[in-house]
Symmetry: C2
Subunit: 419 residues, 2 copies
C-alpha cells in the first residue's frame, strides 16, 4: 500500500524569500527511506486561516501531514492555536513538558525562573499527544485523526532533524506498512538531454511500470534517476541494476558514474579506492570546492586542505605563482591556473591538486577580464589538465556553484584517466 | 491594493528531497521588491492531475501564479500539456522560438540538426503568449486569465533568474499597481527569545497596524524582522526607523546591528569602513567561512584568503603550529586555534585573522575528542580572543553552518571592540 505525506512549513520568512526551506528536503528524504511518498510540499504564512486551511488540505489528501514551524514562544507563532481550532479543542498544560524545559535551561546554565512564555510552551491541544524534545523547548505534537496523523515539529533545523531521527521515523514505520521506494541516479555526460532521450526512447518505453525515469540536466552533465516502487527492496534494486545494464548497451559511452548523487562523494570514493590524496587552490570559487569536499564525512582521509588566494599577494607568496606571468597574462589565465595547482601540490604535499581562477562578478576583474571567464587546472605532477570555461550569464552564486561542480567532475575524469 | 502571488514548483526531485527548492526563495524576494506578496508556495509531482489541480488552486487564490519546472524536452516534463488541459486549448508551434533554439545551438557550437524533441520545445498553448529565453531552449509562457496571470518559467536556476530580472519583474510592475513592502532586520544577542518578547510586550502591542514584527531565533542570536505594508516607501522606512529608535530605548543593550541580514555582509561593511583586511585558517569548517565571506560581492577588497588545514601536516608546515602543542593538547585545543590564527595572519599578511578547529563528526576526531567540540580564535596581533563551543547534537552540515556563523559574529564583535 502506498502511504502518502504532505509536508507543511509555516513561517513568513520562507514566503518573503529570507530563508530557503531546507527542512522539507530533509524530511522528504527520510520518509522515502521508509517507503513513504511525499505528494505535496506547501508553505504558508503565519496566519490563522491559512494554517487551518492547509491542515484541512493536507489531511484530506494524505495519510500523514508533517508540519514544521510556528511552535515558538512569541506572538508570531500561531501553529498551536490554529491546531486547536482545527481540532475543535482547548490547550492544556503538560507538566512533563515543563520539567523538560526546566532541565534544558539548567543544562544551558540559565538559573532564572521560567517566564510566562516559557510556561506556555508546555501547553498542547488536548486532543494531541506529545513527544519530548531534548533539543529545545517546543515539544513535538502527535495528533491522530481517524487513521491519519498530523505531526508538528519545531522549525529549527537541528531540533527537527533530531526528532525525526530519534523518534518519528521509527514510530511511522511501526504504524504504517508501506511500500518500498528505491532511488538510484547515474551520471551521464557528453550528450545533450534531448539527444539522449531520443537514443533511449525504445528502452524507456519498455521500462516496467514500477520503474519511473527522470532526467535532471545540469550545465555539463545529466543525472538520470531511476525510482522504483514495490514491496521487495532487493527485487527493486536488482531490476534497476538490470535496466542500467541495458542502458549501458545503448548509451554506455556517455556513462560517467553508475552511482551518481554528487561529484564530491564520487571523487572521494575514487580517491579512497586508489589511495590518493588531494588539495585545492581556489581563487574565484573562494573556498566552495573545499566546502563541498569536506561536506563528505570521512574526507579527512584524502583531503589535506586548500589555499584560497583571493588576494594576488597570496598567489605569489604562498602558491609561488610568477609575478611576471600575472603581469603578462593576468590572474585569470592558463599560466596562473597551472602554477596555482602545482604550487598548492608542493605546499600541501598531496598526490593531486585542483585550482580555479576566474571572475565571478558582478564587476569585471581587476585586470578587465570579462565576468564569467574561468580557468581550472588539475595536476598530479606528471600530467596537467588546464581547461577554460566561460559563463557570462550566471550570477555570482550560480557561477561559484557551477565552476565548483565542473572542477570536481573534471577531477573525477582526471583521476580515472591519469592516475 | 495588495497583489498576491502563488509560487508553484513542479518536479519529483523536490518531493523526494533530492533538490532543495532555492528558486522559490529567489522569486519571492524579487516579488517583494515590487510590493507583491507571496501567499503560498506549493511543490507538486510531475503528474498531470496534480499540476492541473495546483493551477486551479493558485489562480483561485492569487492574482499571479509563477510556475517553475517541467518545461524540458523529456517525457517526465508535463507542464505544457497540463497547462493546455487547464486552459482547454491545443499546442501550436511558434517559429520564432524555433529560431531562438537554432541560434542558441549555434552559439554553443552544436552544428547538428534540431531533433524532434528540440522542435517540440517551440510548441506553446495557443491561449498563451511567450517571452524568448536567451539562456536556454524552453521559452517563458505568459497566460492571461481574466485579470490574472500564470507565468511559466524553466526550472534551471540561471535561466529562471535571467528571465525574472530581464523581463518578468518589469512587466509585472507595469501591469499591477501594488502596495509597497519594506522589510528590515535587526540583530539581537545576549537575551533569550522569550525574555526579549516579554521585555518588548508593551511596545510590540502598540506598533502601528501596518508594521508586522517577527522573531527569527538562531542558536546564539535573534533576528527581529520589521515588515511594513503601504503606499509610500519613504514613509514606511521612516516609520520602521522610528520604531527601531523606540526599541533601542527599551532593549538597546542587546542590539548588535541595526541592519542585519547576514553576518558576512555586516563584517564586510565594518572592515571596509575601518580599512582592515582579514584572512582565515579553517579546520573543521573546511572552507565554509571563506565561502561565506567571498559570497559577498566586493569582498576581494578586504579578504585575502584562507588556509584550510584539514590534515595536521598543513597546520604544522603552513600555519606554523607547534607539533609539541598538538601532541600535548590535541588539534582541538585553545593552543592550536590561537597558533592557527596567528600563523595565517603572518602567512597572508592581513590585519585580522580567524581560525576554527573542532570535530564536525559523525565520527570522533583522531585524538578522541568528542564530536561537537570547537575552538574559535581571532587575533589582530595585539589582542587575541579564544572561545570554546560545544554542539554535541548537531549533524555535520548544521555544525559547520553554526560554527561558521559564530566565527563571523565573533569577528564582528572583535573588530568593534578591539580594532
Amino acid at each position: 500500500m502506498k502511504i502518502k505525506a504532505t509536508l507543511l512549513t509555516i513561517g513568513d520568512e520562507i514566503l518573503i524569500g529570507q530563508i530557503v526551506d531546507t527542512n522539507s528536503a530533509f524530511i522528504a528524504k527520510q520518509l522515502n527511506t521508509i517507503g513513504i511518498e511525499v505528494e505535496e510540499i506547501i508553505s504558508v504564512q503565519d496566519e490563522m486561516n491559512h494554517i487551518i486551511e492547509a491542515f484541512e488540505r493536507g489531511i484530506s489528501k494524505s495519510d500523514i501531514v508533517i508540519v514544521t514551524g510556528g511552535l515558538g514562544p512569541t506572538k508570531d507563532d500561531k501553529t498551536k492555536v490554529a491546531l486547536c481550532q482545527f481540532l475543535d479543542c482547548e490547550l492544556i498544560q503538560e507538566p512533563k513538558i515543563l520539567e523538560n524545559i526546566v532541565q534544558l535551561f539548567q543544562t544551558r546554565g540559565y538559573t532564572k525562573e521560567l517566564n510566562s512564555l516559557n510556561q506556555d510552551q508546555a501547553l498542547i491541544p488536548e486532543k494531541s499527544t506529545f513527544i519530548q524534545n531534548k533539543y529545545g523547548t517546543a515539544p513535538c505534537l502527535w495528533t491522530t485523526i481517524n487513521d491519519k496523523i498530523i505531526i508538528n515539529l519545531p522549525g529549527v533545523p537541528f531540533e527537527m532533524k533530531g526528532l525525526m531521527r530519534d523518534e518519528i521515523i521509527q514510530r511511522l514505520q511501526n504504524q504504517f506498512q508501506s511500500e518500498t521506494i528505491v532511488h538510484r541516479d547515474i551520471l551521464i555526460s557528453g550528450i545533450p538531454e534531448s539527444d539522449l532521450a531520443i537514443l533511449l526512447e525504445d528502452w524507456e518505453n519498455n521500462l516496467p511500470e514500477f520503474i519511473h525515469l527522470a532526467y535532471l540536466p545540469n550545465r555539463t552533465s545529466i543525472d538520470l534517476r531511476f525510482s522504483a516502487f514495490g514491496t521487495d527492496k532487493e527485487f527493486l534494486q536488482n531490476e534497476i541494476q538490470h535496466q542500467i545494464n541495458q542502458f549501458k548497451l545503448i548509451a554506455g559511452e556517455f556513462l560517467v558514474s553508475e552511482n551518481s548523487g554528487n561529484a564530491q562523494q564520487i571523487l572521494g570514493d575514487i580517491l579512497k579506492e586508489k589511495g590518493l590524496t588531494i588539495s585545492t587552490a581556489e581563487s574565484c570559487t573562494g573556498g566552495n570546492i573545499a566546502s563541498l569536499i569536506t561536506s563528505v564525512s570521512g574526507s579527512s582521509a584524502y583531503y589535506f586542505g586548500t589555499i584560497v588566494s583571493y588576494d594576488t599577494s597570496v598567489k605569489v607568496n604562498l602558491l609561488n605563482v610568477n609575478q611576471s606571468d600575472i603581469d603578462e597574462f593576468t590572474v585569470v589565465s592558463e599560466q596562473v591556473a597551472e602554477q596555482m595547482a602545482k604550487g598548492v601540490r608542493n605546499q600541501l604535499k598531496t598526490d593531486i591538486s585542483i585550482s580555479t581562477t576566474g571572475v565571478a562578478g558582478p564587476n569585471k576583474g581587476e585586470d578587465g577580464k570579462e565576468v564569467g571567464t574561468v580557468w581550472i587546472s588539475i595536476t598530479n605532477g606528471h600530467s596537467t589538465w588546464n581547461k577554460k570555461y566561460f559563463y557570462p550569464y550566471l550570477d555570482r552564486e550560480d557561477f561559484i556553484k557551477i565552476v565548483s561542480n565542473n572542477a570536481l567532475n573534471l577531477a573525477i575524469q582526471f583521476v580515472r584517466e591519469e592516475c
